[in-house]
């Protein structure tokens, strides 16, 4: 018996390692084909301009970031087909940040030093951005960041094409105050973005006559929301607004259990800032129908630019794919960069490209955008209601694009601060008090 046992185990080990070896071999070949299939031009070294794409292709963030990579590649391909930049083809170099913040910093260094790229498009989480920030600043290089974030940052080396808080959270709160009620309950995941966002919301509500009746944070990944629902019901017995900054799986649990608990959108409208078209599919339309989300871009935005964007994306990546806000922001980033390079007449002199980037305008799928001197872009703000088909019905949109304010004007510490990278008369153009403005 024992003999048989030992032999079985040894055999098991042998087969196991053989199988493992084979699978590793296959895996080892895979990335090569993946990058090779990225639609890269075959022109020789001198005729191409290298740019980096730095996103998580593996790990927990891959789900979200892969679609942003797709959108970035679509933009590059379109530009290449139209003749490239300064007569040269763009050659994207894809790096995997693996949802790990130190890896992001390492890969950013590699893209700049080894691959000699002239710009990097990438990052999603604030944590990954904070990790690469010192790399881009110390090497005086250039990152284009495509995701809405919590603000309170302004770097000469980063161009932000996602929303600052005053282009998403603040207008959403204003709209709720006007249309849905004065009493707010804040629900968020327990980490930096929801806590910063809720600090802003509380200050804004206090300034504008609203009331924060309660707030609660759910640990990331936790799915038991019964205590939160009790708290909401106790704080808002007759209904009120729920502002939701939950991230990831907790959203699914939250919306599934909200409905059975009788907290329906007619009495308890919920405004989310991190649920886009992709997330709606995963949570289930049945649970989200009638709830709201605030973004700058929805797939249903009715502009000719968006029609051709969605069509081109579906043609390249499949008819069942959806587009969302960060993807659109990534698409904008490539086009703004291209225009800046063309105006500067060079891709290599980053100082000139940076200067040329400021003031660039582009007819984006979301509508016209303009790069400001604070390295953020003006954006139209929209509020969408989830409809039967899982897409957003746009119920409100600002008449004009909103100018970006990276430093929050409701929070006491950053009130009155301005960021302007064209100013030479101040010591620190990234953070100074405006005078007479």
């Amino acid at each position: 018996m024992a003999q048989e046992f030992g032999l079985g185990r040894r055999k098991f080990l042998v087969y196991g390692s053989a199988a493992l070896g084979t699978s590793l071999l296959i895996k080892g070949c895979a990335p090569a084909t993946e990058t090779g299939g990225g639609g890269q031009p075959t022109a020789a070294g001198g005729d191409t301009i290298k740019v980096g794409i730095l996103h998580s292709l593996s790990g927990t963030m891959a789900i979200s970031e892969k679609s942003v990579v797709d959108a970035t590649q679509l933009a590059i391909e379109q530009i290449n087909q139209a003749g490239g930049v300064l007569g040269k083809q763009i050659q994207p170099i894809l790096e995997d940040g693996a949802s790990d913040w130190p890896t992001f910093a390492e890969k950013a260094t590699k893209l700049i030093d080894q691959d000699k790229v002239v710009a990097v498009f990438g990052c999603w989480t604030s944590a990954s951005r904070k990790a690469v920030l010192p790399v881009f600043e110390s090497k005086n290089h250039m990152l284009w960041y495509p995701v809405q974030y919590e603000g309170q940052e302004c770097s000469k080396n980063i161009f932000y094409t996602g929303a600052a808080p005053n282009q998403q959270i603040e207008p959403a709160v204003d709209w709720l105050l006007q249309n849905k009620g004065k009493k707010f309950f804040l629900v968020g995941s327990d980490y930096v973005f929801p806590r910063t966002a809720n600090t802003i919301i509380k200050a804004q509500l206090a300034a504008k006559g609203g009331e924060t009746v309660g707030e609660d944070y759910l640990p990331l990944g936790n799915t038991e929301v019964t205590p939160i629902i009790t708290r909401i019901r106790n704080a808002l017995p007759d209904g009120g607004v729920i502002f939701n900054t939950l991230n990831g799986d907790s959203n699914v649990a939250f919306f599934k259990q909200l409905q059975g608990a009788g907290l329906t959108p007619d009495k308890y409208p919920t405004m989310s800032v991190s649920i886009a078209e992709e997330e709606v599919q995963a949570i289930g339309v049945e649970y989200l129908k009638g709830q709201y989300a605030a973004w700058n871009y929805f797939m249903t935005v009715d502009t000719p630019e968006n029609k051709s964007f969605v069509e081109a994306f579906k043609a390249k990546f499949g008819q069942n794919r959806v587009t969302n806000d960060p993807m659109e922001a990534a698409y904008i980033a490539v086009h703004l960069w291209k225009q800046a390079v063309e105006q500067a007449g060079t891709a290599d002199d980053l100082e000139k490209v940076r200067q040329a980037a400021i003031g660039q305008t582009f007819n984006a799928p979301e509508g016209p955008v303009k790069m400001f001197a604070n390295h953020h872009i003006s954006k139209t703000v929209r509020i969408g209601e989830v409809g039967e088909d899982g897409l957003f019905k746009i119920v409100y949109s600002t008449p004009q694009p909103v100018d970006p304010l990276p430093w929050n004007q409701f929070v006491a510490e950053t009130k009155g601060l301005v960021c302007d990278w064209t100013r030479t008369d101040v010591d620190n153009p990234g953070k100074f008090k405006a005078t007479g403005a």
Partner: protein, 385 residues
Amino acid sequence: MTFLLESVFNGMSIGAVLLLTALGLAIVFGIMGVINLAHGELMMLGAYTTFVVQNGFRQLGEGWFDAYLLIAVPLAFAVAAGIGVVLERGVIRYLYGRPLETLLATWGVSLILQQLVRSISWQMTLQIALFCLLFFGGRWLLSKRAIAPRWQAWVSPVLLLLSVGIGLTASLVAGGAVGLAMTKPWFGAQGVDVTAPSWLRRGVNLWGVQFPFVRLFIIALTVVCLAAIYCFLLRSQWGLRIRAVTQNRSMSACLGIPTQTVDSLTFALGSGLAGVAGCAISLLGSVSPNTGQNYIVEAFMVVVVGGVGKIVGSIVAALGIGFVNYVIGSGLMTRFLEPQTALFDFFEFFASTSMARVMVFILIIAFLQLRPAGLFPQKGRAVDA
């Protein structure tokens, strides 16, 4: 009164989810002494089974859709139990009595299952099916005929290489010929949506307390599972055999009880319960490859606090943890205190959902200091060993 009823119901509904996720673990960990870290992934498979059944019923129309749970629950049990048997026959059987190795092996299995769900496609299914057919079929065929002893050591490696090669080539060719329909993952890495039948999505308000139907359903499901386990263990012949093997394995073997079959059966039962739990949690939360991870720690907590090997212990522990979790997280303690007193501020600080989790952990650690063996310590195999 309303308040009391609300607390009891909500505490119980949290407890029922904990208990359902811990029941299967209580059986394999408690009765067999196997620490199965893949328990969460068996739940995940149950949840995906529910997803598949739901999609099937959606094709049939709205009337049929409302009934899909009747099929999904037993099917989730069957699928998870089946995988459990494969797991027991393929891996765990070789590791009985070696808890650390079991721990590592089942952890590996849990990672494999997660990745499998992320990447499984028709191409991969074809590859695995071909491999199994060629490798195990080939070994079975060769075992029927006599082979010279000096070649015997080569049979399996050669077969392995051949079947891996043929399986890979065939699946690559098929993938290239058919295209996306063949290579596209069934589920993908992103979460999928399990929508509860319409009658479960609502709730009812009685005596000022809201009863979500899905919570009532889970409580009922838990009670049914418990009753079924008790009937099986105490009334059936196989239940008697399981209890006998638990108490004294070698004596049972001497008396003619097929202990290996009993092991498989017990493991299948525990895994099947994990599948049922997966079906239940898919109604509450997300269904994604890492769904199981969110529950596994809490399930172990319940089993350990309850006392390994006693299902009664798990019941009491699950209800207790659920209740404490609810009372702290919902801020109920502060309702009876004067605001702005020291005690109020103290409880207010802890009255949040993240803090409730911390507090529950602290309470459990403190409790285990007092009673290391849990609420209902077991006098069984642990004493023999």
